[in-house]
Amino acid sequence: MKVKIILAAVIVVAVAAWGFSSFTKSMTSYVSFAEAQKRSARVQVMGAIDHDQVKYDIDTQELFFPITDEDGTTMTVKYTGTMPGNFSQATHAVCVGKYNGNQFVADQLLIKCPSKYEGELQG
């Protein structure tokens, strides 16, 4: 009985430690644009997409678009991955990546599209 409890405790502690370390390692902070430009770590930003300024470079298949955060700061995002299917409908984008040069280079893009729980009442 004792052995079992000790074994279970060891497993729990090991899993907890390993879970905690993967948790902190895969963590990306959500910051403002001003903050993102100062940091060298991978961060997460969110802002409104200006659809008039979206550029898609056909040759390099790179997507460029300016986004504006709550503080009113605007910055250009460069994204090279697969363009999300509903990009053109998106109002906001959550971008994960690093600030580099004069643009935010995103390796992950979450698009905030109007989903089924949105579109409530304007009246």
């Binding site: 993967s22 390692k25 895969s26 697969t82 959550v94 698009i111 905030k112």
Partner: protein
């Protein structure tokens, strides 16, 4: 306004009768059973009123009563019947209404079943109902627009609604949400049974009665999750079926706990142990449904989720009920901790029960880790700035769990016979293990080289073959008992599909020009033949001709601009091969300048769109870097009487040619220097996006190959089919009145 009054009256009747039932059953907790008869009658009236209210609500949608805010915001006149019906649950209020409807109907089956703890169970079930009724009172589905808003419209009603989100105009919208909500609703039953048993301190019939409901909940919730994944893959063109999005996770967590509960009930039924952990699992699988609802509906994750959520002012109530149910359950669990205690546990490490116990532990652990990941924006908010975990976290934690679970699933069916010693066990396991080794070696030959993937393939094959042998070599296992084995084989099949399809999926993007030669992607030659119709028509598709060796076929992924929001809607084209799916997903279509490539001799000028371009000279650049040679074309570009010099360049480095494009002056578009004919003194230029150019149709197409994805779907069908069979079996056992082990006190 009559309709509003009638709808709200039905809601009011439902509230009053539900309250009566709640009080009636509540008093029975204190041994005052006099009101139980009244409570039951009240419930029937409540159920009648709720069903009528939902029917009435549906009628408002079908009759296009746009005076109601909900009907106006989610439906419109042009929706076909199926989609029109689906607007019932397209909005937040409507989805709560549907949820209430399901719980109410389930309650009709529950209330007819006399059990020892009947009143107590119904009391807690009524609390759940009260939760949903409160939400509907806070935000009625029958809320009309204010009279002054309606007065603006001729006839006092808006002529049309704003319509259903075009992304949701899909047959899956009709099927998927009700199945998920049915799954959520069913989890309320074991929850009520657990709390009822705890309140009465009587656990005699708790296992027998909650088992079938748990199995049915597993079936519906699992099916709902998988159908959602298939929707994302097949129609929405997200490329994958699972993204660890909070909305997906909030269904997954209760499902995992519910699966753990199902296995725990099996042990409690056979051995009479594990009661406390089962009660805990039953309580928490439902509490986490409520928590998930709070996470995804309250707006707290708005910055972190792909889906966007708006707070309807219900989050206060969601938090209140979450805390209320959590505190209530915790108090009951703690108070009864001693009396609900059962035997000492399982001693024999070579028994099936022991394997199941370990499995429960890891299922729960996986659920907890997923919960921590999903809640990370909330957890981190306490300490510092809110942060989110990346998908890595889920993959890193889920994969080892999947390996352990697959091992257990493979071993457990061999653990039932009497001689439980390690050597005999190994002997029995040998054939399945040998086949799994063969499969793994094959996978290695087919280029699966990463250790983790090989390990996953091995354990998945082991789970598959282990269960297969036990079922087919022991005919007494066939019949309704096959459910569990089928589910476990399905788990193995699904896991192989997931590993191979996600680890070895290949993606390529090609630019296709209409009426030009085909482009090559993988072994395919794909030609773009233009659009089938008008891009603003919602049935519009892209016409592609794909040449695969000697065979040729046509592909027609859908693409159109939605009327409702002017967004580009796409549906991929999927061609199924035996070993993989070819996945063609149009990304973008645009009009490009025709003749966007031109050759200019030194001194020559040509017109490109609104610009005049003159090639004046070569620019050999400076050779500061000995490894790089740069050549540029000096161009004089005249636009609206203003002339600028633009120099697109080409660099020759050790790795090859590089093109340094130059932007057009004051406007969009760019020039690329494509080639140099030094002896002819000419350059080849390519223009893109220059205003005023003659147009040619360009399609950006994403081409993916997803190997063995069919195994994912096959596994899903086996998992769901197996769970359904288990439900049928447990339902029969529930009524069979077989004497059960472990239920005697």
């Amino acid at each position: 306004m009559m309709t509003v009054a009638l709808g709200n009256t039905l809601l009011a009747i439902a509230c009053v009768t539900a309250a009566l039932a709640l009080v009636g059953y509540g008093l029975a907790l204190f041994n005052r059973d006099s009101l139980v008869g009244l409570a039951r009658k009240s419930y029937y009236i409540f159920a009648g009123a709720t069903i009528l209210m939902c029917a009435f609500f549906l009628m408002q949608i079908l009759n296009h009563n746009f005076a109601l805010q909900y009907v106006h915001d989610y439906s419109s006149r042009d929706l076909e019947l199926g989609f029109l019906i689906s607007t019932f649950w397209a909005g937040q209020v409507g989805s709560f209404t549907l949820w209430l409807l399901f719980i109410t109907v389930i309650g009709i089956f529950l209330i007819r079943r006399e059990t020892e703890n009947h009143s107590a169970v119904m009391f807690f079930y009524m609390l759940v109902i009260a939760f949903f009724l409160t939400l509907l009172v806070v935000r009625s589905p029958f809320l009309p627009y204010p009279p002054e808003v309606l007065a603006q419209f001729p006839g006092g009603v808006p002529p049309d609604g704003s319509g259903l989100n075009p992304l949701l105009q899909n047959y899956w919208m009709v099927i998927h949400p009700p199945i998920v909500f049915m799954g959520f609703s069913l989890l309320a039953v074991p929850f009520a049974y657990a709390l009822g048993a705890l309140a009465r301190n009587n656990y005699r019939d708790w296992v027998k009665n909650s088992f079938p409901w748990t199995a049915l909940g597993s079936f519906f919730l699992g099916l709902g999750i998988f159908l959602g994944g298939y929707w994302a893959y097949e129609t929405l063109g997200w490329g994958g079926y699972w993204a660890w999005d909070p909305v997906e996770n909030t269904s997954l967590i209760p499902w995992l706990l519910n699966l753990a509960l199902m296995h725990g009930l099996l042990i409690e039924r056979n051995k009479g142990v594990f009661r406390r952990s089962n009660l805990l699992l039953a309580v928490f699988s439902f509490l986490l449904v409520v928590y998930g609802t709070f996470l995804t509906r309250s707006g707290v994750l708005a910055d972190f989720s792909v889906h966007s959520f708006t707070d309807l002012g219900t989050s206060g109530y969601l938090i209140f009920f979450m805390l209320f149910f959590t505190i209530l359950s915790t108090v009951l669990l703690v108070v009864r901790a001693k009396t609900a205690r059962t035997g000492v546990g399982i001693k024999d490490p070579y028994s099936m029960d022991f394997a199941i116990a370990v499995g429960i532990f890891f299922l729960a652990l996986l659920a907890i880790l997923t919960l921590i990941g999903t809640s990370s924006p909330l957890i981190t908010r306490i300490f510092a700035e809110p942060a989110n975990v990346s998908i890595d976290f889920y993959n890193k934690t889920a994969l080892p769990m999947a390996v352990i679970l697959a091992l257990l699933v493979g071993i457990s069916p061999f653990l039932v016979t009497k001689d439980r010693t390690l050597p005999t066990l190994i002997k029995r396991l040998a054939p399945a293990a040998a086949l799994a080794v063969v499969g793994t070696v094959l996978a290695y030959i087919f280029d699966v080289t990463q250790f983790m993937y090989l390990l996953m393939i091995f354990t998945a094959l082991f789970a598959l073959f282990g269960n297969f042998f036990v079922v087919f070599l022991q005919p007494n296992r066939v019949g309704l008992r096959i459910g569990g084995f089928l589910t476990h084989m399905g788990f193995g099949v699904m896991m192989i599909g997931i590993v191979v399809s996600s680890a070895f999926s290949q993606t390529d993007k090609v630019n296709l020009y209409s009426n030009q030669g085909p482009a090559q992607s993988f072994q395919y030659k794909i030609a773009y033949k233009g659009m089938h119709g008008d891009i603003t028509n919602k049935d519009n598709s892209v016409l592609l001709e794909v040449q695969d060796g000697h065979t040729q076929f046509k592909a027609d992924p859908k693409m159109f601009i939605a009327r409702e929001n002017q967004g580009l809607m796409r549906k991929p084209f999927i061609r199924k091969y035996f070993l993989y799916d070819l996945y063609l997903s149009p990304q973008e279509q645009r009009m490009m300048g025709e003749g966007d490539q031109m050759v200019l001799i030194k001194g020559e000028a040509k017109q490109v769109g609104d610009y005049d371009v003159k090639f004046t000279n070569f620019d050999m650049g400076n050779h500061s870097d000995p490894n790089t040679m740069e050549v540029g074309a000096v161009l004089e570009v005249t636009h609206q009487g203003k002339t600028d010099t633009v120099v697109p360049r080409m660099a020759f480095t050790q790795t090859g040619k590089q093109f340094l494009s130059a932007p057009m002056p004051d406007g969009s578009g760019s020039i690329v220097l494509q080639d140099i004919q030094a002896d002819a003194g000419s350059v080849s230029l390519k223009f893109s996006g220059v205003p005023g150019m003659d147009v040619v149709d360009l399609l950006v197409l994403e081409v993916s190959k997803k190997p063995l994805i069919n195994l994912v779907w096959l596994g899903v069908v086996m998992v769901c089919g197996g769970t359904l069979i288990s439900f049928i079996r447990r339902r029969r056992l529930q009524f069979a009145r077989v004497p059960q082990a472990g239920t005697s006190e």
